[in-house]
């Protein structure tokens, strides 16, 4: 697999899964006002 494919795959997975996991963790742990 080309370097370009690796880079794009890692970037896209990081943005989507990173966004999902970050939002999920924040949702589950935030302190209610």
């Amino acid at each position: 697999m080309s370097t370009r494919t690796w880079v794009v795959m890692i970037v896209l997975l990081t943005i989507n899964w990173g966004g999902f996991i970050a939002a999920l963790l924040y949702s589950l742990t935030r302190k209610e006002k």
Binding site: M1, T5, V8, M9, L12, F20
Partner: protein, 488 residues
């Protein structure tokens, strides 16, 4: 409203929201459409439209549901006045028409799960097996009825014991199964060809308007934005639940599930099939890919029986969790009209069984309904944005979206997105699909009795709109009637 149930936990709410959003479209449409539109190049506009169409509408739906504490019709009545109840009625009609055939789809996934577990698919020619199944009549009807009863049973238990509990099981299972399927797929010899296809961007595709419009349509259909389902779940939010945060979690969760599905399907297809055959599979349509090509892939894969069962279990979890949300939307509309939950669920389940029968018995009828109401959803999305704008987009943001208990703020961009971005995207997407439909059927584009054209949409939408406008006053009054007793 007395005895109003709310989600009992943040995780329960997120699981229900993800269950609504992640459906069969993530597994059977996303990989196909991404493969046909430049792979990673398609993923760029697909991510852009998460922020310009899907998230603004998901946020609007949650905010309307939480603020108005009614189902779709009652929420529109309260938000923009009884004169516009028909707009909420439109959202409800479109989603309920989808519910009728989605129960059939859930039945197909259950049938293939059972067939995978019993080894019935072993050694058969998948195309012939599928044709024999759908043409048998009783087979699709039986599984459609089972799916409708299963969904109805969950909704009968209420929000916490039904929707929340079922999704707490279905959603983690779905993600684990998709991860297992994706790991198996990418570890096949030759899988890198599929990964290249999905992740090596053909940037020239970005110059084609088709890539952008397909990406927008996929985002709109996949995330469930504009369907009225999150609006319905929104009325079960606690005042302290954050609207923007939960919408973001659901939007990114839906995209993450789509990427996993792409990694489960495309590498396996390109590892096992010749490149031309793999592209044929991607062009075979949703049903063709899922029920004809996928069994062929697993038949040629070492350990394919086990992974086929895992794949169809994931597909069934995705379908059932979405079916549950669809049934709740219809049930809630009746409950707002003072029908208690138990008879409301019985009425809805009965209607699903009866009105789903034509789609269970005829592939042409199914294709017609999928086309007409799939495009109708875009109008639903527009109506939700219009309702927020009619309420006053600044007031909508400050009063309903950014409450005192909300951590995340959307700022002025959000008002602009609702007022301009969503309508402009709707106009582009809607006119493109109508233009395409006219080109599919150049001679008879106007004929309302053709399966997929402009005429059939205009006739069915026209009938729905005429009835909604005719009964608008009565519908508006019924939609905000107080329940006679606490409903759990």
């Amino acid at each position: 409203m007395k005895g109003q149930e709310t989600f009992s936990s943040r995780w329960g709410l997120i699981a229900a929201g993800l269950g609504m959003a992640v459906g069969t479209g993530n597994l059977w449409r996303f990989p196909r459409i991404a493969a046909q539109n430049g792979g990673a190049a398609f993923l760029i506009p697909w991510m852009v439209f998460l922020f310009t169409w899907s998230l603004p509408l998901l946020i609007a739906e949650f905010a309307i549901g939480r603020g108005m504490r009614r189902g779709v019709v009652g929420s529109f009545t309260r938000l923009v006045g009884p004169r516009y109840a028909w707009m909420g009625g439109w959202v409800a009609v479109v989603t309920v028409m989808i519910l009728f055939y989605y129960s059939v789809v859930t039945g197909w996934t259950l049938k293939y799960l059972v067939a995978s577990l019993t080894g019935e698919l072993r050694g058969v020619e998948p195309g012939e097996y599928w044709s024999a199944y759908v043409e048998s009549g009783w087979g699709p009807v039986l599984f459609h009825v089972i799916a409708a009863l299963l969904g109805g049973f969950v909704i009968l238990q209420g929000v916490v014991k039904g929707i929340e509990r079922a999704n707490k099981i279905l959603i983690p299972s779905l993600f684990v199964l998709l991860i297992v399927a994706a790991v198996r797929s990418v570890s096949l010899p030759g899988a890198e060809r599929g990964l290249e296809f999905l992740f090596n961007p053909d940037l020239s595709s970005l110059a084609h308007y088709r890539t952008w419009l397909e990406a927008l349509s996929q985002s709109a259909w996949s995330t469930g934005a504009g369907w009225g389902l999150i609006l319905t779940y929104g009325m079960y939010l606690r005042r302290t639940d954050d609207v923007v945060l939960n919408s973001t979690t659901i939007g990114f969760g839906d995209h993450s599930a789509s990427l996993l599905a792409g990694m489960a399907v495309l590498p396996a297809a390109f590892a096992i099939l010749a490149p031309a055959e793999a592209m044929d599979a991607m062009r075979a349509g949703n049903v063709g890919l899922m029920f004809i090509w996928i069994p062929q892939l697993f038949a040629r894969m070492p350990g394919g029986d086990v992974f086929q069962a895992i794949f169809f279990l994931a597909l069934f979890c995705a379908a059932l969790s979405s079916l549950i949300a669809l049934i709740e939307l219809a049930t809630r509309v009746l409950m707002d009209a003072a029908v208690p939950r138990r008879p409301a669920v019985a009425l809805v389940t009965g209607a699903v069984i009866v009105f789903g029968l034509p789609s269970a018995l005829s592939q042409s009828f199914f294709a017609n309904q999928d086309w007409v109401w799939g495009v109708g959803l875009m109008i639903s999305g527009l109506f939700i944005a219009l309702a927020a704008t009619m309420y006053g987009q600044a007031r909508f943001r400050t009063e309903l979206v950014e409450g005192d208990a909300d951590d995340l703020r959307v700022g002025r961009y959000y008002e602009w997105a609702l007022k301009y971005l969503v309508p402009v995207q709707f106009a582009m997407m809607f006119s493109w699909w109508m233009y395409q439909a006219a080109s599919w059927d150049p001679e008879g584009w106007w004929n309302p009795f053709h399966v997929e054209n402009v005429g059939t949409c205009l006739l069915q939408w026209g009938v729905a709109l005429a009835l909604l406008l005719l009964f608008n006053r009565r519908m508006a009054a019924a939609s905000i009637r107080e329940e006679p007793e606490a409903q759990a």
